[in-house]
């Protein structure tokens, strides 16, 4: 094939790609930082709330899990301002969408982790005179969280990939930056190859870390049996 590769054109704008990567990481990390506590709250409400709370929370979780993330993103960016009258910038819309969306997944991870703990642990802490909150905080959650770590990290990686959707509402993430460089340089092949490589490097590094932690946890729990 007679295609002439020219990475130099692209590398001139590498700072723009790096900025895009930073923006991608910003959305991912913020969505995680907000999504995990919201997820825990949703899980606790779904598990221990009264019936009036439990049903709507369950519905919300299912709704967030079963609708396409891009539809949610468009809703928060285009539809919510009509409803509230408040303009929302792409960054905030992205954070809002992905914090909520991942909180629904984290809620299920938390719930799974909590219910997987042997009822004897609840019994023992209750018999000592602990309240339900004390049991959760001191006995149940520390054990549950340890079991949830692999699922959490897996989900975080998934989230980083999903955040590419924010380019559709003009948030300058890595994909968006790549796209604009491609349009100005007509070097789509080089630009998107480099962008893909950047995603690969970051996510591959993350999944290596996940695997390492999983292995460490496996050893720890083996020592514990």
């Amino acid at each position: 094939m007679g295609y002439e590769w020219d990475f130099l054109v692209v590398l001139r704008d590498f700072d723009l790609l790096l900025l895009g990567l930073v923006n991608t990481l910003k959305v991912t990390v913020l969505a995680l930082v907000l999504g995990v506590p919201i997820g825990l709250a949703l899980a606790l409400l779904r598990l221990y709330g009264n019936l009036v709370v439990r049903a709507p929370v369950g519905l919300l979780i299912e709704f967030l899990r079963t609708t396409p993330p891009i539809a949610q993103l468009f809703w928060f960016f285009f539809a919510l301002p009509i409803l509230t009258g408040i303009e929302i910038d792409p960054f905030r819309a992205s954070i809002l969408t992905f914090a909520l969306q991942s909180s629904a997944f984290f809620a299920e991870v938390f719930r799974g982790g909590i219910v997987s703990i042997d009822t004897g642990q609840w019994e023992a802490s209750k018999a000592l005179g602990m309240s339900r909150n004390e049991s959760l905080r001191r006995i149940i959650l520390p054990q549950a969280v340890k079991r949830m770590i692999p699922a959490f990290l897996e989900r975080a990686i998934e989230l980083m990939k999903t955040t590419t959707l924010v380019s559709t509402i003009s948030y300058a993430d890595l994909l968006y930056q790549a796209n604009s460089i491609a349009q100005s340089t007509y070097r789509s092949l080089e630009v998107f190859s480099i962008a893909a490589a950047m995603y690969f490097l970051v996510i591959f590094a993350c999944s290596m870390i996940v695997r390492y932690i999983e292995a460490r946890l496996a050893i720890a729990s083996e020592a514990a049996h």
Binding site: G120, A124, A127, G129, R138, I139, A224
Partner: protein
């Protein structure tokens, strides 16, 4: 004799199934009571109603003469806060130990004083050290439950309950999940506790232990106390046909129970 615990006409149902059918019992300070009976007779449920792991369907529990809960026109109502305080005063040990696996033996024993009694770190440490020493496991303080034998785990569980300085101890088939060779060490720990004057209610199938440690043996059948008395009265010369059958079935294929002294 000072009365520490009284149950008055205690009933407990799970749905349509009535497990306790009106239990009356007065327990003296320092008394050791062993509950025996076939599975399903209600012994475990009775224990669990005393510290409100299960809420009685009707009837009353008195601790030092003070009734737990509030009498209303539609029965007795309980506030969770009062029940957690009652549970903190009554120790319970389970069949499956239920130690906290993410904590060392020492941390397990410190957990109650720390989280429930809000003791100072020094006080928690002191209590835990003392109780672990008492059950002979101070040398395992830094071991995790998974690194302990079943018998050791159960002794830590006893120490964990004792660190709360309970007024009454409840033992729910605490040796049933243990390999036979590990049963003795747990029974010896319990015997020492009884000798120190701890008020104890014990559900067990170890009739030899019951014989040598109990002040009073209760035979439960079908949710009622069918027969009670001193160990010889109930275990050696039972009056009721059901008690005789139970004891016969229990010992037909067993060697004589070892006698603890």
């Amino acid at each position: 004799m000072t009365e520490i615990l009284r149950l008055r006409n205690l009933h407990k149902s799970f749905g349509p199934l009535e497990v306790l059918k009106g239990i009356d019992l007065a327990v003296a300070q320092g008394e050791v009571i062993v509950l025996i009976g076939a599975s399903g007779s209600g012994k475990s449920t009775l224990l669990r109603c005393i510290n409100f792991m299960e809420i009685p369907t009707s009837g009353r529990v008195f601790l030092h003469g003070t009734p737990v809960g509030r009498q209303t026109s539609s029965g007795v109502s309980y506030v969770e806060r009062e029940l957690t305080q009652i549970r903190a005063r009554i120790g319970m040990v389970f069949q499956h130990f239920n130690l906290f696996p993410h904590m060392t033996a020492l941390q397990n024993v410190m957990e109650g004083p720390r989280t429930v009694l809000k003791c100072s770190p020094d006080e928690c440490r002191n209590r835990a050290d003392n109780q672990l020493r008492k059950v002979g496991l101070e040398w395992k303080a830094d071991a995790y439950p998974s690194q302990l034998s079943g018998g050791q785990q159960q002794r830590v569980a006893i120490a964990r309950a004792l660190a709360m300085e309970p007024e009454i101890m409840l033992f729910d088939e605490v040796t049933s999940a243990l390999d036979p060779e590990l049963v003795g060490e747990v029974l010896i720990t319990m015997k020492e506790l009884a000798d120190e004057g701890m008020t104890m209610l014990i559900v067990t199938h170890e009739l030899g232990f019951a014989y040598s440690v109990a002040d009073r043996v209760l035979f439960l059948a079908d949710g009622n106390v069918l027969e009670q008395g001193s160990p010889p009265e109930v275990l050696t010369y039972p009056k009721e046909e059901a008690t005789k059958n139970f004891l016969r079935g229990h010992s037909s294929f067993r060697l004589p129970e070892p006698q603890l002294d």
